[in-house]
């Protein structure tokens, strides 16, 4: 059967990647300027690909913020060429050196209540820092979970898991195509990573040698420069932990990580004028009593993005709630409702003071 499947995959390659069919890509992490290899394994990023055990020099990390992707679990890694380091920035994504590879694997636990039962690897996305720009490559895992293949046009992969509430869920996971990668990963008009910011990295990670703050660890191991005192770095509240910040801080954090890559100056959705970055301080700009623009059917439930005190009349919440492809937000990467996130935003809007009567 494996032989047949290999034939099949080869056939797929022949049919789909004829113009980019590199029988064996430039092996190893150093080949970053070349066209992307066909298989993820060619990058040599993992000591054990299937178990997501990174190679030496490939550093695992995590973010305190959740970019909701249909309940996928994410494994993140970063590789920087030896002797190079990222440059710290207070708010923006760190400046990474040419040659950096950011790795994000999307997986679904067989049973979200029992992680030890393993998971189905679905997709590994690479962001590769070339001299000119960040390149983005989606790799789709084979069914055996042994390797992942470049899928420039994206893919749909059936997934199924037992959710935290014990219910069985199944869906078609949409692997974005390379164009869609750019839709989210854009900053000031140029492709950019979204997650590795100080405020989201500023938390402990369980390294093999023990838990340590990630910023401290990166600095100690020579992967981060430009931050003298990690204690001064900003720290985002955990959207899901009421003890970590106010309701407003947590909701704004959730919108920042899930929406601001498009809804910010230079972002793809800025044609609407909505700015959902955490540091936007003008309520109208982040949606309070802001009229929608080009919202289409998204505007079917009300006049404003956010109506203080009235979540059900708030277009922003509606678009997070619905799964209608023509209405839902984000437009890429979500096809299910994120129940917990929606609940947070609902609570946040309900808690806002109703607008003063102006007359």
């Amino acid at each position: 059967m494996n032989t047949f499947r290999d034939t099949l995959w080869a056939g797929i390659a022949g049919m789909c990647f004829c113009a980019l069919c590199h029988a064996a890509g430039p092996a190893g992490k150093a080949g970053f300027e070349a066209p992307p290899p066909e298989w993820l394994s060619a990058y040599d990023l993992f000591a054990d690909l299937a178990r997501q055990i990174p190679s030496d020099g490939v550093m695992p990390y995590d973010l305190s913020a959740l970019l909701f992707s249909d309940y996928a679990v994410k494994h993140r890694f970063v590789w920087m060429p030896p002797g190079t380091s990222a440059t710290y920035q207070d708010y923006d994504v760190f400046e990474f050196p040419v040659g950096t590879i950011l790795v994000k694997t999307f997986a679904f636990p067989r049973d979200a209540r029992r992680p030890e039962e393993g998971e189905q690897l679905v997709e590994t996305r690479l962001l590769v820092r070339t001299k000119a720009t960040w390149k983005m490559y989606p790799y789709v895992w084979n069914e055996q979970g042994t390797d992942a293949r470049l899928a420039l046009a994206g893919a749909r992969v059936p997934v199924r898991w037992v959710h935290t509430d014990g219910a069985v869920r199944s869906m078609q996971f949409n692997v974005p195509n390379v164009n869609q990668c750019k839709h989210c990963h854009i900053g000031g008009g140029a492709p950019l990573p979204a997650g590795p910011k100080a405020r989201y990295l500023n938390m402990d990670y369980a390294y093999p040698a023990g838990a340590e703050n990630q910023l401290v660890y990166w600095i100690r191991t020579g992967r981060l420069t430009g931050l003298a005192d990690p204690a001064t770095a900003p720290k985002a509240p955990d959207w899901d932990d009421p003890n970590s910040g106010t309701l407003d801080e947590r909701a704004r954090t959730y919108l920042d990580i899930n929406c601001a890559h498009c809804h910010s100056p230079g972002g793809l959705a800025y044609t609407s004028g909505l700015d959902l970055r955490f540091d936007q301080t003008t309520p109208m700009r982040y949606g309070v009593l802001k009229s929608p623009v080009a919202a289409g059917r998204g505007a079917s439930i009300g006049q404003y993005d956010i109506v203080p005190g009235d979540p059900d009349k708030s277009i922003l919440l509606y678009r997070l709630t619905t799964t209608d492809p023509g209405v839902r937000m984000p437009t890429v990467g979500r096809s299910l409702e994120h129940d917990e996130g929606v609940e947070l935003i609902r609570e946040w809007i309900a808690d806002m003071a109703a607008p003063k009567q102006t007359n």
Partner: protein
């Protein structure tokens, strides 16, 4: 066969052994493809990229599945497309007025001309069939400047939105009614086709029944959309997507010989763009037929707008990166009987457009409207308003809400105003009486700019040399009634003498490579 038996087992184990899901699994995981054969009756395995040995291997392996695949093919869009018959709307349309000297120049191609034609320029031909999703999207990703992505006659079924981000690509079909990109089964993507690159030509195909917008281009330069139809085939419905053809934040936009039907916002909507030509298009059964919003320099001519809620709108809205819409010309258009009840979702600005509006100008400066035929509107043939009359609060300090320097001349008006629509139409009728005249102005002016009670001459509204097939050209200013605490106190005037005069002609929009 073993492997497929295994597939069955796997799905049964998962409790997902429905035919459709299995088919989906086969189609998307194994990339099997089916397309109509020449006699259009049977389906054979074989996809767009079947030229490789591996591809043939799969086809041979798949033959034992022919029976199932035949069934699937039939249920999943493999049947030949019905003859592209014109929609009822199309049949009922009246022809556009004879092209004026402005519009009858040959439409030269605005070529996506790179400085030197790349030697690697290629044409990728993709016939309709199964898994066109992957085939077309991949062609759009692997294209190079100068590439042509050629779609053939027939119906293409898509489940996901398509996107193009390579400069200098032509996406070409075999005709506005012959090559149909059908998104009825769309599961993701807020557009049918989304273009973010420059020097792109889209021509000779249709995009139908998308869940969101039909075709969107953003941040593009030198974009040509030609002989393209964007349609929701179920007629005007609130559940239709918003915009049929939707260039936004683009420069040098040419939309010509296009058709847009059924948009729950606008058929053709050009937003926040510079240097725009929309010409010789037909828009029907949209809320707004054509909307030019927050644009700097736009010409709309030779178009037919009928059976929309409002025919052609020229709007400017606050809180947006590009504002102060100006230098807009509407000429040689046929705008008639736009009386379809407003079906826009409630929060959209076009939901405020009264049913039965011909041309509506809001908050733009330097607008020239001439040589149009505008008639048969239940509310008014022409509405000129400031943003304040929407009664929406203005929080944007940089926004200029007034309609100024509007020049209306040499138009032919016809009957209108017998059944003013919507809240706004009702308000206007309550002030101005019924039937409403050809041209209704909300009478709101920037009082800070008044000198001796009047705007400077270059900022006024001028109405001259128009005619009305029913008699006199009629006009009313409702004196700012919309924003007065007591609208009944508004000073209503029907006197056109205040509007005698003219403004210099606005320069035509010039797009490099496009015929004037």
């Amino acid at each position: 066969m073993d492997t497929y038996a295994h597939e069955w087992e796997r799905h049964e184990l998962l409790g997902e052994s429905t035919l459709a899901e299995l088919a989906e699994s086969v189609i998307f995981r194994e990339q099997a493809s089916i397309q109509p054969s020449h006699d259009d009756l049977t389906c054979v395995a074989g996809g767009p990229y079947d030229g490789t040995k591996q591809g043939r291997t799969i086809q041979m392996r798949m033959t034992t599945w022919a029976g199932l695949i035949l069934v699937l093919g039939t249920t999943m869009g493999c049947t030949p497309a019905p003859d592209a018959s014109p929609s009822p709307a199309q049949k009922e349309s009246e022809p556009a007025p004879a092209a004026s000297p402005t519009t009858d120049a040959p439409n030269t191609i605005l070529a996506p001309a790179p400085a030197t034609p790349p030697s690697s320029a290629k044409t990728t031909v993709i016939p309709p069939g199964l898994d066109v999703q992957t085939a077309v999207q991949e062609a759009l990703i692997l294209a190079e400047p100068g590439s042509i992505v050629q779609l053939e006659e027939g119906t293409y079924e898509f489940q996901l939105g398509l996107s193009l981000d390579i400069d200098g690509v032509i996406v070409r079909g075999r005709g506005i009614d012959k090559t149909v990109l059908n998104f009825q089964g769309q599961e993701a993507g807020s557009e049918g086709l989304f273009v973010t690159s420059k020097n792109v030509v889209l021509e000779d195909f249709a995009v139908v029944d998308t869940k969101g917008n039909g075709i969107k281009t953003q941040g593009s330069e030198n974009i040509v959309i030609r002989r393209v139809r964007a349609e929701w085939t179920g007629g005007p419905k609130e559940t239709n997507g918003a915009y049929g053809i939707y260039p936004v934040s683009s420069v040098n936009v040419l939309v010509e010989d296009c058709v847009a039907i059924g948009g729950s916002d606008s058929g053709i909507y050009v937003g926040q763009s510079k240097n725009v030509i929309v010409r010789n298009c037909r828009v029907e059964f949209n809320v707004a037929g054509i909307e030019i919003e927050n644009c700097h320099g736009a010409d709309v001519y030779g178009c037919t707008a009928t059976n929309n809620t409002g025919g052609i709108l020229v709007f400017d809205l606050p809180d947006l990166p590009q504002q102060k819409g100006h230098d807009i010309r509407l000429l040689d258009n046929a705008v008639f009987a736009n009386n379809t009840p407003n079906f826009a979702p409630t929060g959209n600005i076009v939901a405020t457009v009264p049913t039965g509006t011909g041309v509506m100008v809001m908050a733009n400066s330097n607008v020239e409207i001439f040589n149009n035929e505008i008639r048969g509107h239940e509310t008014a043939n022409m509405l000129i308003v400031s943003y304040q009359s929407t009664l929406l609060e203005i929080k944007d300090p940089d926004y200029y809400p007034y309609a100024e320097a509007i020049h209306i001349h040499h138009n032919t008006f016809g009957v209108c105003g017998n059944k003013p629509g919507g809240e706004r139409g009702g308000l206007i009728a309550a002030i101005a009486g019924s039937p409403l005249p050809d041209i209704v102005w909300d009478g709101i002016v920037n009082e800070a700019r008044l000198v001796d009670g009047k705007l400077p001459p270059e900022s006024r509204i001028y109405i001259r040399d128009n005619k009305d097939t029913e008699g006199e050209v009629t006009f009313v200013s409702i004196g700012g009634a919309a924003i007065l605490p007591n609208p009944a106190e508004a000073v209503v005037t029907r006197d056109l003498s205040e509007h005698v005069g003219e403004l210099p002609a606005i320069e035509p929009v010039a797009i490099p490579g496009a015929a004037q």
